[in-house]
Every structure is written in structure tokens, then in C-alpha cells.
């Protein structure tokens, strides 16, 4: 399982922090700091795996990181993850970011933190790798931003109405929501031809 995903810049400023196990705030900050120091010491031509000692409380954990220009992408994983697999997952994540932001840079991560988190949620969920297919991830994200735009169009006037919190506070948004619901949602494209079963269902009749 992935325990944490940390992105920080060359100065150790956190840019994206996502822990998949609950840790106290101070511990999290300490992990970010120590991880940064561990990673910073290493130059770019040595291996991308690092043992992080007792940082997470066990000896089992490993840091797998990549350095892109000004940013370090660090995944902290336990022994049940494949090192090289995670290394390429980072690549997938970064390439996806690049596609979504068109030439992603450090600032994109800061100013669109929520979006970055949403993209990450399509890749890793609850510490498990959910999707590794870049097209699929991008499709999901695009569908969402389409939705955002649609919402923007409808919700735009709703906001200009000086709605009071108490008054019809949720009235306007809920109207917007129902409007969205009525819109035929963009079909999320997925290049699997479901009709023609590509992956054969194993014969599991004995328990079905």
C-alpha cells in the first residue's frame, strides 16, 4: 500500500501532501521535512529507492522518488508495492498532470491544489492504485472539468443573486444541481468494447 504521496520543491516547500494513514499533524510535518532531507542529499544519477527507516514507525517502508526540474515526487510505500511499478506510476501521474495542465509547472500545483488532488484521486485511492491508464485518467478529469464548466454556466447567475445564507441558502445551488442532473452527462469514454468481451471470464462456475 502507498502510505503517503509527497510533492515538494527543491527548497522543501510542500506542494502536494496526501497521507493514506492517519498521522498527527506534527508527525506529518516531520515526515515531510525528513523525507526532503533524505532526498535532497542524493544526486540525480543514483537510485530512486530509499529506505526511510523508522520514519513511518516500521522498517518496512521505502521511499520511491523522482525529481522533475523543481519538484520532487515522493511516494512512500510498504513492501507490498513493486518499486519499479511505483516509479512508473509516478511517471504516469506526472504525465497526466502535464496533459491536464498543458505543460505543468510548480505553480499549477499550488494554484490548483484541488484539481491536482482530484487527479490524484483518480490514480490512487485510499493508498491503492486505482487506475494506471493515462487516457482513462485524463478522460475522467476532462469529464469533470466539462462538468465544472457546465456548472459555471448555470451557477453563474445564481451567484450574482445576492442570496443570503439563511434565506434560500441552498436553494440556488440545489437548483443548479438539478439543472445539471437534467443535462445529459457526457459519457465517460473508455476504449473498451464491452460488447466483445476482451478479457475472457475465467470459468468460475464452481462458485457462481
Amino acid at each position: 500500500m502507498i502510505n503517503a504521496i509527497l510533492v515538494f520543491n527543491n527548497h522543501g516547500k510542500p506542494r502536494l501532501v496526501r497521507f493514506y494513514q492517519h498521522l498527527a499533524e506534527e508527525v506529518q510535518q516531520q515526515i515531510i521535512r525528513e523525507t526532503f532531507h533524505l532526498v535532497l542529499k542524493r544526486d540525480d544519477h543514483i537510485c530512486n529507492f530509499l529506505e526511510c527507516g523508522s520514519l513511518f514507525g516500521g522498517s518496512d517502508y521505502k521511499l520511491i522518488y523522482r525529481h522533475y526540474a523543481t519538484l520532487y515526487f515522493v511516494f512512500c510505500v510498504d513492501s507490498s508495492e513493486s518499486e519499479l511499478g511505483i516509479l512508473d506510476l509516478i511517471q504516469v501521474f506526472v504525465e497526466t498532470l502535464d496533459k491536464c495542465f498543458e505543460n505543468v509547472c510548480e505553480l499549477d500545483l499550488i494554484f490548483h491544489m484541488d484539481k491536482v488532488h482530484h487527479i490524484l484521486q483518480e490514480v490512487v485511492i485510499g493508498g491503492m492504485v486505482l487506475e494506471t491508464n493515462m487516457n482513462e485518467i485524463v478522460a475522467q478529469v476532462e469529464a469533470q472539468s466539462k462538468l465544472e464548466k457546465a456548472e459555471q454556466g448555470i451557477a453563474g447567475p445564481a451567484v450574482t443573486v445576492p442570496s443570503r445564507w439563511q434565506g434560500g441558502l441552498s436553494a440556488a445551488p440545489s437548483r443548479a444541481v438539478s439543472a445539471v442532473k437534467n443535462i445529459n452527462l457526457p459519457e465517460i469514454p473508455r476504449n473498451i468494447n464491452i460488447g466483445d468481451i476482451n478479457i475472457k471470464v475465467p470459468n468460475l462456475s464452481q462458485f457462481m
Binding site: S82, F111, Q144, G156, R190, I192, N203, M208
Partner: protein
């Protein structure tokens, strides 16, 4: 700050406009939106501009205060709230708590439109944890969203559930999520599976009933859903592999289809089909096939195919390969696959990419137990990795070396580890490595000096981070010692001397743990060293006490040491001074010790009994009921003191008092306490029993008792765990010599063609030679040539700590001392067992050979029971061999060589004086053997010797002969020497117990055998060997041709002629059991140039000597 930030700042405004999603179709968006964004923007801008942490903190606190007012203001729109949440997330990321916003995040998720909801959910998942009380407020929202007709809302709800959900509320959403498994959209099904996985993790019992739904998910028509279900299966199989064996076939089928490219092209990553899916499946298969031949059988094909298909073109194929290799080595082995996997590991290890090299080393470490030869193949790479600039690689290499350590290479490996330790600054690495060094040192220490020095290094480098077990085990080892008392004393003395030397250095700073170890050892054993005045030691300890860096805990240790030493000296000025100094110390503990010392010094006799010498291992009888205090307690009670109440009782009373005022008079509580303490205590003379808390008593008598208890307590520390009992020690001894006897053959996997051999060898740079030298020392004992694997596997686990005799100057004489030890300890019992053997062989004369398989002490453990025909008296005969020539480093241990002793021939006392002609039994007659020689004889016994130079392939049957007893021994040479003498004696009983001593001279040639090999093998082997010796010999006229000379060598030295080309010839032989020696010879102008190579340094020299002798003779 750096220019990077400056540049960042300069482009900020442009970027803000460019990337702001708010500036969408609605033109400039709402006014609130812009201001919010710019607020985040300005926040970030101002943070980046700051230089100190303190300023940042101030700024963020300001920001948080303003956020707090904004979010709690009723006028705040949800849209503004969303912006606030993003800012809060930012602040939290920087480590500033913003708990005031949590409830608003939940509200936002509840009330917002899709966009705001999404941010609300995100904020919740980032802010809260599973057990947060606010999370309950989210449940309703989740339930509502799960029932929504809007796919996006369902998706969001499933996402939050699979990230964070309160355990106790699972039943509320479980049916809804189960329904989603049938949803028509695959993304929903996939997230539902993920949510169920989360539930399985946090509450496995609650999802037990839907296991068959997992199975359906596994055969979902969408590969993505199937992949998600693998998470659940991996987890479940990890916990209970046997429960899912029936699914093996399914997993294999799936993997086959994936590998075979049956998935849509969309799943490809760098044209590899679904690599992550493959990795996952391989892991599952590994878990399923572990220790299960039948299940493993099912997966061999697909593993083979995976290996084959994974053509090297990208990182990710290596990931699959690595996983494959790991699976192959985990499941029930199949040699064909193992071979392929080994090749794969080779690719990893030899790869120039560091990541792959690292994984290769990891894989090697993983398989080394199963296949030590693999490490031999890659030894040069491993050596290079030792000097790799990347500490991670180095550490992994050391881990690998740690696994292959044995008695022979321990010194080199531990040295490498210490070198690394000295450079390393990471605490984690230090702790880890220090533990390993200590373990290796205990297991394989070749001698006392090395052991103590290594442990000193461990303590001084490891500092105070070393695991407490390490000093504990070390001291325990010193205290308990081994079989040999003398040995122990040597070790203890050496330790004392080395510590005294260390303390000699004035400004040296030692870690506390090290000081504690030193002071304990000095306290216990300094009296063993007679040439040092105790006063000197006391002065040193005293000066340590005054040092500021010494913690008070360590001071207590030192004080204890001082007390112990003081008990063995009559009177000491230092002690007096010390007492004076610390009697008014502010440290109460020290003060107490000073007082105790003072009182003890006044009564030397008492002190001596309290602190007996070397009694740290003795069992102590502690009167746990503290009955000796009864009188004191009774007296106290008599004077009206309140009786002692145990802690829990006091606690209870305190609680009950808190509830209500206690109006009971004291008398009652006295009774209750007496009765309750009576339950725990024993019967005391007064009929009552009182548990006594020592700390509570300040009376003088109690004081003294406390003192002794505490002192002993310190010793007792080493009593509990860790060190191996002595019996196991012996086992270790028996196993150890094996490894020592086997030289190493460096398998020449370098890959040069044999034709180039000699040139290449010549051009080997100095550095390479050095490395090879290192390799041969590191990998010694790991494998051997031509498949003659002596040990099969490195039996690192069996070998226990082994102490060696100190009598021998040379390190090589280890066996000898071992031998002696076992002779001393094993012989007694052997004599006792003799009668039992006699009973065994009732009726007829026969010899029984007892062999404890494959161990050196075998030599001594020989029992011979026989019957003399005339007297029909049963005699137990015990033959002992004991090496008498310690100074000569000739070492003999069990080997293939059979020394046949047609002896002792017992003869009738009065009858025919004609000695029976000893002859070899028929089975041995055919084997190459030497002439039968008479060794010695007494009036009743004649000993004959015959060397069998071939090892027979069958077991020796019982040898029957009227009056001739045979006994066979295997001997091999451990340390190369030209000649060795084996002395032994035979004990026999006719009328009197008689002992007959004899000795046998064995030469190096007795242990040399021809070694058959091809020219090609010779070439490979030649390159891998590092010890060479060259010499020119003048040829005599009779054998001036090369062939004549080679024939002589073949006949006289039993060398095997491998090949002859022109005026060059190559020969090969081996020293039993399997140390090869290669010889290259060339004739030119009447000279014969000999060039020997062998993994064993002494062997070429020895052989050269023999060659010269032979050539001169002929």
C-alpha cells in the same frame, strides 16, 4: 532566497490569469471568485517572499484568523466557502491546524453543488481521520449521494467512502454499495469494489457475507473492475493463502490473457500490456504457490511465458521481470524456471542502471539462501557495488554479504561493514548495521582479540543508539563463558586490557553504553589482570565520574564497578576520596551509593560476601516476600505506624474517597488491609504478612539490603535472554571446521574466451587483482568447483558463536584447538559407551565404526569393540587420536581420504607368535592404496597402516577377520603443509588396560588427486583464480622434453594432464576435497617454467616444492 523563487514571483500574475479556471465562459467570473483566487494568490505570493519560518507562521496565523471569520460568517456563499476550503487545505499542508474549518468542510460536502461538494469531500478526506467524531455527520450525505441519480455524485460518494469512513457506520451504506457492484458503468463498479476493499481492511467481519460478490467482481467483464478486485484478493490471500487455492486457475488464466495481449490496446503502457495488473497477479501467484507443489505446478507455464514475453525495452518490463523472478523463487522450485530466473537476476545485477542494480542485489539477497552459487557468479559486480557512490547500493550489498558470511570471510565482511558505519550518519542505518555486526561477531569470531576489538568498534560507532540487547548479550557472553574456563579468563582479561587502554586516552568521548560495558567488565574482571594496580583502575573510574558528559545512569554503573573493585583491595585512597566527594553530592542516587560504599568499606568481610568474585552467573535466591523485614515492620506497627497498603488498594480507596467522604475510623481500614495483604504474602511469624516497599523504608537495615539487591540487579540484567546455551555451542564447533576446510573456487564467469586467457590474465590491472583478491576472501567457503559442493549450502543459521583456543599463535590452528577441546570433553563419555558396543557385537568379531557424520571430531569419536578369539574376553577398545604437533599447522579433518588401518590385530597370548599378516579387505584391494606398513606393536597388539587413495563409493561393510580388526578413518588437510603428523593412541583391554601410541606421517601428496577437466574449463578457472606462483626449474637431461616432464608430474604428483600444445602444457589437480590447483608449464632452452594457480594461497607453494623434489629425483 534563490533566483528560482524570484522568477516564480515575476511570472505569477501572468500565470494567474492564464490558468485560472474561474475565468471561464462567465467572462471574469463572479467578483467573489476573482477576489478569492487572488487571495490565495496573494497568500502564496507573500509566503514565498518570506525568509524565515517565524514570519511565515505569523502570516498564516493572520490568514487563518481571517478565514475563521469568513467561514463562520452567515453571509458567506458556498462559492466563497469553496475558495476558503482550498486556502485551508493549503494552510494544513504547511502544517497549520485549522480545525475550525472541519465542520464547514462537511457542510460544504452536504450542501454545495457538484463543484463545491467535490471540494468539500476533498477537504473532509484530507482533514479528518477515521475516528474523528465529525465524520459521523458525513454519513447522511454519503447515503444521500449514493442514492443519487447523478453519476458524478455517486462517484464522489464512493471515492470518499474508499478513503475515509467510520467503521461503525458501515452497515448504513453497505447495501447501497453492494448494489453498485451491478451498476452499468464500469467506473462505478470499480469504485464500489474499492470501497468494499476499504471496508474489508477496517472491518473484515462486516463484509464476510459478500465474498462471492468479490468473485463476481473478479470475473467482471471490465478489466478495470477485475484489477480493482485484485487488491482485495491480494489482501485476503496474504492473510489466508490456503483458502483461495481454488482460484489459482483463474488467476493463471487471467495472467495468461493479459500476457498474451488479449486486453484492449488501451491498457498498454509503453506497449506492455497492463504491467501493474501483471505485477499484482504475479504477487498473488507467489503467495498461492508458496510451499505448495501442486498449486505451483499450475503456474509454471504462465511464469515461463511471462519471462519470455517481457522483452527488455523499458523500465516497466523490468518491474514485471523482477516480480516474476521473485515469484519463481517463492513458489515450489522448478529447476528450469530457476535457471531462467537466475539469468534474469544476472541482467539486473549487471545493468548499468542503478535502479536495476539495486533490485538485482535485492533479488540476490533474496535467493542467496537457495542458491549461493549465484552470488559467486556475480562476485566481481558485488565487489564493485561495495565501493558504489550510492549509499543505498552499498547498504544493500552489505546486506547481501551479511547473508553469505561464514567463519572464513567474517573478518573481511565485518571490516567492510565497519567502514560503511564510519561514513554513515543515518541513525536507522547505524542501528541496523551495528546489530548485524554484533551478531556476526558473536557467531563467527575467529579469536578473542578480534572479537573484543570488533565489539569495541560496535560500541563506539554505534553509540547510544545500539539496541540494548547488544551490550546485554555481550556482557552475558563474557560472564557465562564457554566450555573452557581458561578460554573465558583469556577473553575476560583481554577485554579488561583493551578497556584500560581505551580509558588511557584522555579526551576520548565514549558513548554511555560503551562506558557502562567498560565499567561492568572492569568491576567484574579487572582483578584477573594482575599486572595492573587496582588503584590505577580506580583512579580512571574516578576521573570518569567527574566528567560532565557522563550521564547519571552511567555514573551508577561506574559506582557499582568501584564498589566491586574496592571489595577486593584492602584500602584505597581513591575510594576514600570518592566517598568523601559524593557523600554530599546533589545527585541523591550517587549520594546513596557513596554512603553504601562507605559502610561496606568499614566491614570488609561483609563486603566480600556481598560481592563475590565472578558470581554474575550464579543463581540468586531472592526472598521476594522480604521476610527479613518482618521484625522491622512489626516494630513499626508496634509504634503505631500505619500498615502498608499495596498500590492498587490505595488507588481504590482514593477513588472511593472521591465519591463520598469516608467516615470509617482508621481501625477498619487497617483490618481490611491486613487481610488483603495476607492473601498475597506468606505466613509471617506474627501471623500477618506485610508486603514491604523498599523505597518506603529509610531505616539503616533496609538500606543495606536495598544496596545489595540493587547491585545484584545490575548483574541480573544479563540473565534473561539472548545468548545461546552452552550445549548449542558444541554443535557450532562441530559444524564450523567444515567451512574452514573448503577453499574457494572462483567460478570464472567473466566471459572471456579461453583462447585469450593467458594474455588477459597478464593484462589484469593491479586494481582488478586487488578486487579479485577481495572477492576470493569474501566469497570463500561459498561454493566449490565442478559441482563438488562440499557444503551444499551456506549453513549460516546453524553456526553458533564459537570461541577458539588462544594457545595457538597462528589463526590457522583453530581446528587443533577445537580438536583438543573436543578431545577433552568427548572422550570421557566415549569410554563409558564402550561396553555398550561390546554388547552390540555379541558373538562374532566385528568392528563397529561410529561416525558422527561429517564433523571433525569424527576422528576422535571412534569406538572399536572386538573380541579376542582365544581368551574370548570382551574388550572395549577405544582409539583416540590426538594431534600432538600443535606447532606445526597441520590440520586434519574428516575427508575422502581413507586411511586404512589393518589393526589392531589381537593375538593369542600364549600361542603362535607368528603375526597375522594384515591385508586389505577384498573390497578395498582394488582401490589405489599404499603398501601396508607396520606402525608399531606391543606384545598384544600390532598396528598396521595402509593409505587408501581413492574413496570407495560404497559403505564399508562389517569387516570380518579372525584376529584382525580394521578401522578406517577419513582425513583431510585443512591447512596446506608439506607434511603433517597424526598422532593417536589405542586403548585396549586385555588383562590390563593398555595404551598404545602411534603416529602416522602424512604428506601433502597424500591429499592431492588428479582433477579431470576440459581445456575450456581450465581456461575459465584459470582466470578466476588469484594466487599464483611462478618458478623455473632446470630440466635434467633424462627428461628434457615437455612430455617427459609432464609424465613425471602425472605419475609422481598425480596431476592430471589437461592438454599439451606445442611447448606448453596444462595440468590440474585438486587438494581434497575440492580445492583446485592449476599448473601451466612451458619448456624453453632446457628450463621448465612452472606457473601455479589456486584459490588457496599456500597450495601452489606446497606443490611447487613437491614438483622440484620430483624433478630432482628423476
Amino acid at each position: 532566497m534563490s533566483d528560482v523563487v524570484e522568477r516564480t514571483l515575476s511570472v505569477l500574475p501572468g500565470l494567474l490569469g492564464q490558468h485560472d479556471p474561474g475565468t471561464g465562459p462567465g467572462g471574469a467570473g463572479g467578483p467573489g471568485r476573482v477576489s478569492a483566487t487572488s487571495r490565495l494568490g496573494s497568500l502564496i505570493r507573500s509566503i514565498t517572499a518570506l525568509t524565515s519560518k517565524h514570519e511565515e507562521e505569523k502570516l498564516i496565523q493572520q490568514e487563518l484568523t481571517s478565514l475563521k471569520t469568513t467561514v463562520s460568517a452567515p453571509t458567506t456563499t458556498l462559492r466563497l466557502m469553496k475558495e476558503c476550503m482550498v486556502r485551508l487545505i493549503y494552510c494544513e499542508m504547511l502544517g497549520y491546524e485549522s480545525s475550525f474549518g472541519y465542520i464547514h468542510a462537511i457542510k460544504l460536502a452536504q450542501q454545495g453543488n457538484l463543484l463545491e461538494k467535490r471540494v468539500g469531500y476533498l477537504a473532509v478526506s484530507l482533514f479528518l481521520h477515521e475516528n474523528h467524531e465529525l465524520l459521523l455527520l458525513l454519513v447522511n450525505t454519503v447515503v444521500k449521494d449514493l442514492q443519487s441519480t447523478n453519476l458524478v455524485e455517486v462517484c464522489m460518494a464512493l471515492t470518499i467512502v474508499s478513503q475515509i469512513f467510520p467503521r461503525e457506520m458501515i452497515p448504513a451504506v453497505l447495501p447501497l454499495i453492494e448494489d453498485k457492484l451491478q451498476h452499468s458503468k464500469e467506473i462505478i463498479r470499480r469504485k464500489a469494489v474499492q470501497a468494499l476493499y476499504k471496508f474489508y481492511l477496517i472491518a473484515p467481519n462486516q463484509v464476510q457475507h459478500i465474498h462471492d460478490k468479490f468473485r463476481k467482481a473478479l470475473c467482471d467483464r471490465d478489466a478495470g473492475v477485475m484489477a480493482a478486485s485484485l487488491h482485495i484478493y491480494l489482501q485476503m490471500i496474504k492473510e489466508n493463502p490456503s483458502g483461495y487455492k481454488d482460484l489459482t486457475g483463474s488467476f493463471v488464466t487471467i495472467l495468461k490473457q493479459v500476457v498474451g495481449g488479449k486486453l484492449p490496446i488501451d491498457f498498454n503502457y509503453h506497449s506492455v500490456p497492463a504491467p501493474w495488473l501483471q505485477i499484482q497477479l504475479l504477487r498473488i501467484l507467489g503467495l498461492l504457490g508458496k510451499d505448495d507443489p501442486r498449486t505451483s505446478e499450475l503456474m509454471y507455464d504462465v511464469l515461463d511465458e511471462s519471462l519470455r514475453r517481457a522483452e527488455i525495452n523499458h523500465n516497466i518490463t523490468y518491474a514485471i521481470l523482477f516480480e516474476c523472478v521473485q515469484t519463481i523463487y517463492t513458489i515450489n522450485p522448478k529447476s528450469e524456471l530457476l535457471e531462467k530466473a537466475a539469468k534474469c537476476i544476472g541482467k539486473f545485477v549487471l545493468s548499468p542502471k542503478i535502479n536495476l542494480k539495486y533490485l538485482g542485489l535485492k533479488a540476490l539477497t533474496y535467493v542467496i539462501q537457495q542458491d549461493p552459487n549465484l552470488a559467486l557468479q556475480h562476485q566481481m559486480t558485488i565487489i564493485e557495488c561495495l565501493d558504489h557512490p550510492d549509499p543505498i547500493i552499498k547498504r544493500e550489498t552489505l546486506e547481501l554479504l551479511y547473508r553469505i558470511t561464514n567463519g572464513q570471510n567474517v573478518i573481511v565482511i565485518v571490516q567492510k561493514m565497519l567502514d560503511y558505519l564510519k561514513e554513515s550518519k543515518e541513525e536507522y542505518a547505524i542501528i541496523n548495521l551495528v546489530g548485524k555486526i554484533a551478531e556476526l561477531a558473536e557467531k563467527y569470531a575467529p579469536d578473542n582479540e578480534w572479537f573484543i576489538q570488533t565489539m569495541n568498534a560496535v560500541f563506539s560507532v554505534g553509540g547510544d543508539v545500539v539496541h540494548p540487547d547488544i551490550p546485554n548479550n555481550f556482557l552475558r557472553l563474557l560472564a557465562e563463558g564457554f566450555d573452557d574456563g581458561k578460554e573465558d579468563v583469556q577473553l575476560q582479561m583481554y577485554a579488561v586490557q583493551s578497556y584500560l587502554a581505551l580509558l588511557e586516552e584522555e579526551d576520548a568521548l565514549y558513548p554511555q553504553k560503551f562506558l557502562q560495558v567498560m565499567s561492568w567488565v572492569l568491576g567484574e574482571y579487572s582483578s584477573l589482570v594482575t599486572d595492573v594496580d587496582p588503584e590505577v583502575i580506580l583512579t580512571k573510574l574516578h576521573s570518569l565520574l567527574k566528567k560532565t558528559f557522563v550521564t547519571s545512569e552511567t555514573k551508577v554503573w561506574i559506582m557499582a564497578a568501584v564498589t566491586k573493585i574496592a571489595s577486593r583491595t584492602s584500602c584505597s585512597k581513591t575510594v576514600d576520596k570518592l566517598i568523601q566527594e559524593f557523600s554530599n553530592s546533589l545527585d541523591t542516587c550517587m549520594r546513596q551509593y557513596a554512603f553504601e560504599l562507605k559502610h561496606l568499606c568499614e566491614d570488609k568481610a561483609l563486603m566480600k560476601t556481598l560481592l563475590p568474585f565472578d558470581a554474575s552467573c550464579g543463581d540468586m535466591v531472592v526472598d521476594a516476600s522480604l521476610s527479613f523485614l518482618d521484625g522491622f515492620v512489626a516494630e513499626g506497627l508496634g509504634r503505631g505506624a500505619a500498615p502498608y497498603k499495596p498500590h492498587h488498594q490505595r488507588q481504590e480507596e482514593k477513588l472511593s474517597q472521591e465519591k463520598a467522604l469516608n467516615f470509617e475510623p482508621y481501625g477498619l481500614s487497617f483490618v481490611s488491609s491486613v487481610s488483603s495483604s495476607g492473601v498475597t504474602g506468606r505466613q509471617s511469624p506474627t501471623g500477618l504478612s506485610f508486603g514491604s516497599d523498599t523505597s518506603g523504608n529509610s531505616a539503616e537495615t533496609g538500606h543495606k539490603e536495598t544496596n545489595t539487591l540493587k547491585l545484584e540487579g545490575v548483574r541480573k540484567l544479563w540473565g534473561k535472554e539472548g545468548y545461546l546455551p552452552k550445549k548449542e555451542n558444541k554443535v557450532g564447533k562441530e559444524n564450523e571446521p567444515q567451512t574452514l576446510s573448503c577453499g574457494t573456487l572462483l567460478a570464472g564467469q567473466v566471459g572471456e574466451s579461453p583462447a585469450l586467457q593467458s594474455d588477459q590474465v597478464a593484462s589484469l590491472s593491479e586494481e582488478d587483482k586487488e578486487k579479485q583478491q577481495l572477492a576470493s576472501t569474501l566469497f570463500i567457503g561459498l561454493g566449490s568447483n565442478a559441482g563438488v559442493s562440499l557444503m551444499g549450502k551456506v549453513d549460516t543459521t546453524i553456526q553458533k558463536f564459537k570461541r577458539k583456543s588462544k594457545i595457538n599463535e597462528t589463526q590457522s590452528s583453530e581446528e587443533v584447538s577445537d580438536f583438543q577441546i573436543s578431545a577433552a570433553s568427548d572422550f570421557g563419555p566415549l569410554l563409558d559407551t564402550a561396553p555398550i558396543n561390546v554388547e552390540d557385537c555379541e558373538g562374532n568379531t566385528h568392528t563397529r565404526l561410529r561416525k558422527s557424520s561429517l564433523c571433525s571430531s569424527d576422528i576422535v569419536e571412534e569406538n572399536l569393540a572386538f573380541e579376542t578369539p582365544q581368551s574370548l574376553k570382551k574388550s572395549g577398545l577405544d582409539e583416540r587420536l590426538s594431534d600432538s604437533r600443535l606447532s606445526q599447522s597441520s590440520l586434519f579433518a574428516d575427508s575422502n581420504m581413507e586411511i586404512f588401518q589393518p589393526s589392531p590385530s589381537a593375538r593369542c597370548e600364549g600361542a603362535s607368535k607368528t603375526p597375522l599378516v594384515p591385508s586389505l579387505p577384498e573390497e578395498l584391494e582394488d582401490l589405489t592404496h599404499s603398501e601396508v606398513l607396520e606402525l608399531c606393536q606391543s606384545d598384544a597388539l600390532a598396528l598396521h597402516l595402509c593409505k587408501i587413495l581413492e574413496s570407495p563409493t560404497y559403505q564399508f561393510p562389517v569387516i570380518e577377520a579372525q584376529c584382525v580388526e580394521h578401522c578406517q578413518k577419513c582425513v583431510w588437510m585443512d591447512k596446506i603443509c608439506t607434511q603433517g603428523i597424526l598422532s593417536a593412541s589405542v586403548h585396549y583391554q586385555s588383562e590390563l588396560e593398555t595404551r598404545l601410541q602411534f603416529s602416522i606421517t602424512l604428506s601433502l601428496l597424500d591429499f592431492i588427486r588428479p582433477m579431470e577437466m576440459t581445456t575450456e574449463d581450465f581456461g575459465k578457472l584459470w582466470l578466476s583464480l588469484s594466487n599464483d606462483v611462478k618458478q623455473n626449474i632446470k630440466l635434467s637431461s633424462s627428461q628434457d622434453s615437455l612430455s617427459a616432464a609432464m609424465n613425471t608430474l602425472q605419475q609422481k604428483l598425480k596431476l592430471h594432464i589437461v592438454d599439451t600444445i606445442g611447448n606448453e602444457g596444462i595440468l590440474a589437480c585438486r587438494l581434497l576435497p575440492s580445492v583446485p590447483c592449476l599448473l601451466h608449464c612451458r619448456t624453453h632452452s632446457g628450463m621448465l617454467a612452472l606457473w601455479f594457480r589456486s584459490p588457496c594461497a599456500a597450495l601452489p607453494d606446497g606443490l611447487l616444492y613437491q614438483c622440484q623434489k620430483v624433478m630432482e629425483e628423476s
